[in-house]
Every structure is written in structure tokens, then in C-alpha cells.
Subunit: 439 residues, 2 copies
């Protein structure tokens, strides 16, 4: 280390030239689609990192209710929030600025919306667009980067990955997933040993429904219970439901162990593509609104095998469960938010920071970068070699993949028995433009 004597005097910071200050642009950040227990940790990463680079990034404006906030010029000035409020985002589930299920149409179908976004960005001197979402959002983010280029507006669009479904390509995993996986594994383990302890005279089959429309990553987490002695049957969306084979497997496990646990993905479906249970309605993205596969499966078992059952549908409890978040997940969510800003500062555009795994045990990874053109609209399913041959379990390879993602606990602070989750002030940025009607 340099001693005081040899230390060079620190250069006096030069006053910034007016031209440079004028060039300093603001950032826009929005949360998109289903929120998670750690999406706010990414927001925290984005905002805290931007605040460290005030020479290059002005204010961070957040879209109130996601991209709708950008379209309607309903922006939140995050610079009005205290450092402690922003720091508290790291331990707060939900979307602190509001999120939305609103899919922009194709450029051809609704160019007006894209042009409006650019108009809003221009009005508020926004040069950085950080979009925190899943596959649909990556597509939107990519389109915006293309349009701004075409319109010659200087915008850098960076996607921050988020999805409990873990179905984004290129990145090894997605923030939000590890915590849901941990929730599912912990909750199913607890319920399973509960059932086991009473199976002689009471419930013999416990069915737990988890999220995952097309990809079975969340359901796969239930497979981690096997190493804790729990007999588990998993119903993946990737494997066509075979009722006869399924019932035979359940019967076999109950006869051997006295009980068994079934983890059924909401996306589990029959050969003709119909889900085990559909509620009939569809969301804004046109996806069928699911729920209720668990009672269907439970009653099927009761009728065919006569076993007493119980079933649970975790629904939002699983994706909001910040109280049992994975430390790895919280850390990566923050890191990817931070990296998104660093990529912007490095002049990148139309990219997404990724988790690139180096090794399973010890778990090592580095942060990489993916081109959005390669991310948008690609869904990553469970590889077949992650699922056992019979289709009802996970392989050692899958266990090695999942284990580091659920590792570590990151407890929020509590007061009077409840977690302290922050509610931001969400102060509006004064509007400058005319109203814009969204459809």
C-alpha cells in the first residue's frame, strides 16, 4: 500500500462542462407482468446503482403500473424516496411501483403506442430504458430498442430478467424462481412429514398445486424432498398426463410408504392439450387463467384408490413468499438490476444481463450478457434429462441444478410479528404531454 508520503494529491474534481451536463439523461424503470418476491430487489439494484452514477444518469423515473405508466405519462420520481426506503425494497415482495399485464401489440399493429413511448421518453429526457419482466417484456424491450433506433432517438433498452417460471432462455436461471422453488420445497416438506405422521388413520395422499403454465421448473422443486425420504409424484406440464400410470404410481408409493405427496403443476394437461383444470377465463396476454388442478387430481385418487386426501393450492402465496426467499435469489435479483445499469453505462443496448453458471457445487456463476433478439419470445422448458424416465420425478442432474438456487435464507425484518415491507411514497413527475388513451 502507498504511504502518506508517496501518495499523490487527489486531483481536484473539474467543474463539468455545460455541454456534458446537458447530455446527462434520465432513466426509466418499469416492472412488468406477474410480480415476484424479489422483483423489488432488482429495482433496488437499478436505483441504487444509478444513484452512484449521478454524473451520467439523472433521475430514475418509474412507470406507475408498469408500461402503462409510460404510455399515460404517469411517472414516479424515485429521487424523492429516501435511501432507506430504496434499500428496504430489497426485502419487500410485490411490485413497489405497480406492475401490469398489458402486452404491446406488434409494431405494425400499433405503432402509435411505441411512438408514444418515445414521445414520453423525449419529453422527460429519458435515455435509459430498464424493463423488468419475463419473455413478453423482453420482446417489448427489444421492439422499443429497434424503434428508437429507427426514429433516431438515443435510447438504450436493457431488460432485467424476472419470472418465477424460470423459462427465459440463455440465462441459467431467472430472479424470482429460486425463492418460489424454496417455498415449494420447504412447504411441501413440512406438509409431507405432517401427513406421514398421521397416515395410519388419516390422510394418505397430499396434493399440492403449484404455478407454471408451460414449464415445470417450479413443480420440479418438489423433487428435492426425495432426499428427505418423502415419496413424491410430480406432474409436469412437459409430460402429457397419463391417468392410469399416475394412479398406479400413487398406489405403489402409498402401499410402500403409507402415504405420498403429489406436486401438480397448474399447466399439467391431457394429450389433447386441455388442462386438468381450466377456469375458462383468459388474462390480458390471452393465456388461460388456471387453478384447481389439485382438487381434480385429489378426487381422481379418491375415486380410483379410495385413499383419504387433502389438497392445497398455493397460488399467489408461493410467488409473494418473501419471508422464505432464497438468499441466492435475492442476491442475484439485486445483482442483475445493478448489472443492467452498468451495461447501460457501458453503452450497451437491446441486451439482458444473465446468470452464467460455472459450477454446481461449489456453486459458482458469473454475470453474462444476452442479445435481446435471442431472448424475446423463446421459452425454456425442463430438459428431458432433468425428468426421470417415468416422467414423475427429477434426476440427479436436476437436483444439482436446483440445490444452489434455493440455498440460503434472507429474512426480512419483523415488527410485532409481521415483516416490515416498505410502501414507497411514489411521488408523480409533473406531466408535460397531452393525454393518451390506451386500449
Amino acid at each position: 500500500m502507498a504511504t502518506k508520503a508517496t501518495k499523490k494529491p487527489a486531483a481536484k474534481p473539474a467543474t463539468k462542462p455545460a455541454s456534458k451536463a446537458a447530455k446527462k439523461m434520465n432513466a426509466f424503470y418499469a416492472q412488468s407482468g406477474g410480480v415476484t418476491s424479489v422483483i423489488n430487489a432488482s429495482a433496488c439494484g437499478v436505483i441504487e446503482t444509478a444513484r452512484k452514477h449521478k454524473d451520467k444518469i439523472g433521475k430514475v423515473f418509474a412507470g406507475r403500473n408498469g408500461i402503462i405508466g409510460a404510455l399515460t405519462e404517469d411517472l414516479i420520481d424515485t429521487s424523492k424516496e429516501s435511501a432507506s426506503n430504496i434499500a428496504a425494497l430489497r426485502q419487500t415482495p410485490s411490485g413497489a411501483f405497480g406492475s401490469c399485464r398489458y402486452k404491446l401489440k406488434s409494431l405494425e399493429a400499433n405503432k402509435l403506442e411505441y411512438e408514444r413511448l418515445i414521445e414520453v421518453f423525449k419529453a422527460h429526457n429519458i435515455g435509459y430504458f430498464f424493463y423488468n419482466g419475463g419473455g413478453d417484456s423482453a420482446d417489448t424491450c427489444y421492439k422499443i430498442s429497434q424503434l428508437s433506433k429507427a426514429m433516431n432517438y438515443p435510447l438504450q433498452a436493457i431488460h432485467v430478467p424476472k419470472t418465477i417460471d424460470n423459462d427465459l432462455p440463455i440465462t441459467d436461471c431467472c430472479p424470482g424462481f429460486g425463492s418460489v422453488a424454496k417455498y415449494v420445497a420447504v412447504s411441501a416438506l413440512e406438509a409431507s412429514i405432517d401427513v406421514k405422521s398421521m397416515s395410519l388413520t388419516s390422510t394418505k395422499v397430499f396434493v399440492m398445486e403449484v404455478m407454471g403454465r408451460h414449464a415445470g421448473w417450479i413443480a420440479a422443486a418438489g423433487g428435492l424432498l426425495e432426499d428427505h425420504g418423502v415419496p413424491v409424484v410430480i406432474l409436469f406440464p412437459e409430460i402429457v398426463f397419463d391417468q392410469k400410470k399416475f394412479l398406479a404410481r400413487v398406489d405403489q408409493l402409498v402401499k410402500k410408504h403409507g402415504y405420498c405427496t403429489v406436486i401438480v403443476s397448474e399447466g399439467c394437461h391431457h394429450a389433447d392439450g386441455t388442462f386438468l383444470a381450466e377456469q375458462g377465463s383468459k388474462d390480458a396476454f390471452g393465456h388461460a387463467q388456471l387453478g384447481g388442478a389439485a382438487p381434480v387430481v385429489a378426487n381422481m385418487i379418491k375415486e380410483a384408490l379410495g385413499y383419504k386426501f387433502h389438497w392445497a393450492v398455493a397460488d399467489y402465496l408461493q410467488r409473494a413468499a418473501r419471508h422464505i426467499a432464497s438468499k441466492t435469489d435475492v442476491h442475484q435479483a439485486y445483482e442483475l438490476g445493478q448489472k443492467a445499469v452498468e451495461l447501460a453505462l457501458a453503452g450497451k443496448n437491446a441486451v439482458m444481463p444473465t446468470i452464467d453458471r460455472i459450477s454446481d457445487a461449489p456453486y459458482k456463476y458469473k454475470i453474462g450478457v444476452a442479445e435481446l433478439s435471442k431472448v424475446a419470445n423463446v421459452e425454456k422448458f425442463m430438459p428431458r434429462n432433468f425428468i426421470t424416465k417415468d416422467g414423475f420425478g427429477i434426476t440427479a442432474k436436476c437436483k444439482a441444478y436446483l440445490t444452489p438456487l434455493i440455498a440460503g435464507e434472507d429474512y426480512p425484518k419483523y415488527k410485532n410479528g409481521l415483516p416490515v415491507y416498505v410502501t414507497l411514497n411514489n411521488v408523480s413527475v409533473p406531466k408535460k404531454l397531452k393525454k393518451f388513451a390506451i386500449k
Copy 2:
């Protein structure tokens, strides 16, 4: 304090007379009915305390699968378990020795069973009967104490309270309840802020079904969210369901806040006594097996008001959720197990240790004693002044009651992302008697 000089020399412990040693009797401990996340903490309290009094209590035998283990002479020798295994019970949910839903008939209807119990106790020199359960078990425990007296067999029967339903009389609360209440409050808070953040374009009503057949204590915990700004409607079993009033309340809250959360007790019922959703089957105690009130309520809202909904049924996840147990609850569960043994050592019979509250804030209580004759078959419902006038919420009085019960966190240890829950060796005690067929 006495100085060394004035201190009397400690009396040399006298060698116990053979007659006294011969009188030293073993203890029997069993878990009954639905298990909880802290019933093993009570077991830990019983066993660790008994181990401290080896001069008076011999071994602690546990019933394998509850009282069925006593009837079939299927006893577990807990003295074969290491101190660390027994200590680990404190952080392990489920019933470590197995529990059962098996209700002994009345003395008149099946005296044979009661006599068999005494026969087994006699064969294994059991002089202390610790029964860890709810209202039905308190009744069994009381009957056994009466019969042993009638048969002139020296047995002290002590009931250790356990029920997530919190419906035992005299005691201020029951071990198991505080942790479920904490789980419900934490989970519903997390899901509610998730829904709130997306309510503009997505789900507007979140319905969460919780346990509680006749008493609404568990559902009441949802009322604690009000102080966190969450609009909540609670459907108690104590209040007859009024569909019109309910829908009007939901509509009012959604119009005002943009969303609302409904906590529905599984025991919520219509004026004619039929539950909102019955699965038709009944358990061994003759209680209807419930589940599925949440989808009924959610669809009712969708049809009448058109709001997009999501619903969750927590089922066993709530009562097994040791990962988010209340510190107060874990502590009291242990304490009451400990106190049960101390009561036995003090010569008590046909009693149950209780929590006697002294003050809400600061929370203070002492351990009391209740006569089993006054506990058996009495259910404690929510007092009307704990429920708001409109029947959909909880009063300040109720909040003051609930708050200390969910206070504090008591996290289990984790390994590789999952809690370390102990599985005991459960070594059998050699049988001495003929087989006994249970019905």
C-alpha cells in the same frame, strides 16, 4: 448472598431405599389428532423435563401413532434417542411419534379399550400419562384418569394442550395456534401487496381459505393486515354467511382500494348449517371433511361483480409451517410440556397446564392449571366483541389479543436450502402382552 464461610455443607444425597426405587414409574406420552408445527416442541418439553427427574420418572414411552400405540402395546422407547435428537424436536413440525384420529368411545360403549390401556400401563410400569391434543383428547385423558381411579391403578393423567383451532377453554391460547395465525397473517399480507401492485389490470380479489371448523380464530389473524393498509373481509364460522351483504362489502372495498383480500374459514356456513363447500366425506371423529370454500367464494364474486380473482387453499401448509412459527408459540408449547411433567411430579391428576394472560402489552402471562373435567368437550369460540359489528372484521380488542401470540420468529436450522427436521429412531419397547384388536 451467603458467603462461603457461612454456607452450610451440602447434605450428602442419601442412597435411595429399594422400596422407593421400586416405586419409580415410567411415563407415557402420546400425540393426538391433527398435528401442528409445535406439538413436537411440547414433546421436547415433556421428555427433557422428565430426563431431569430420573429419580422420580423412569423412562418416557411414546405411543406409536398416538393412543393406538397404547392400545396395541406399540410403544417407543424415547430413552434410546440422543439428547440432540430430542432437542431437535423443538424445531421439527409434524408428530415425531405419529399421531392418529381415533376417538375412544364412551366408557359404557367400550370399556374394553379403557381397560386395555390400564393393562398396557400396568405391564410397562407406567404411572404418568401425558396426552398431547385438543378437546377430544382432553376428554379421553379425563376418562382414563377416572377409570384408573375406579380400578385402583396409580396413574396421573395430565393433558398437554395442542390445537391450531385455539378452541380449548380456560387457557388463554393453545400451542399451535400462534404459529398458524402468524403464517396466515404473513402469507396473506404478502399475497395482498402482490395483488395490490397489479390490481389495475389483473386480479382484484384474492381469496384465501384457512382452517377452523367451528371457531374463527385462525381466520381472525387475517384482520391484522388492516393495520398494514390491506382491505380485508373475513368470513367467520361464528357468523352466518350473508351473500348479499358480503358481496356489497367486497364491491365497496374494491371500488375504494382497487382490490381486496377475503379470508374465508373452512367452517363458514349458510343459515341452514351447510358449509360453503363440503367434500362429503367424514373423518374418524365424524366431522365433515372440508375444503374448497375459497373457489366457491371466488366464483360467487366473479359472477356477481365480474372482478378477476385468484384463490388459495393453504390446507396443511398452514399448520405444518414451522419455518415461520411464532416464537411465543414455540416457547409456550415447550413450557406447557415442561409444566405437565412438573404437575405430575407435584402429584396432580386430571389436569391441564394453561396459559393465563396477565397483560396484552407488554405481553405477560403465567402458567396456570385447569381441571380436565372443566376442559373436556367445551369449545371456545371467538367472543362477539372480537368481531366487528358488520361481522367481516376484527376489533381492536381482538388485535390486542392476537398480536403477542404471533410475535417473534424462531427459525429452524437449514442445510442446502431446506430446514433440518429430525426423524427419530423410534425404537420399539418389547411387547409383553397378547395382541389387542382395535376397531
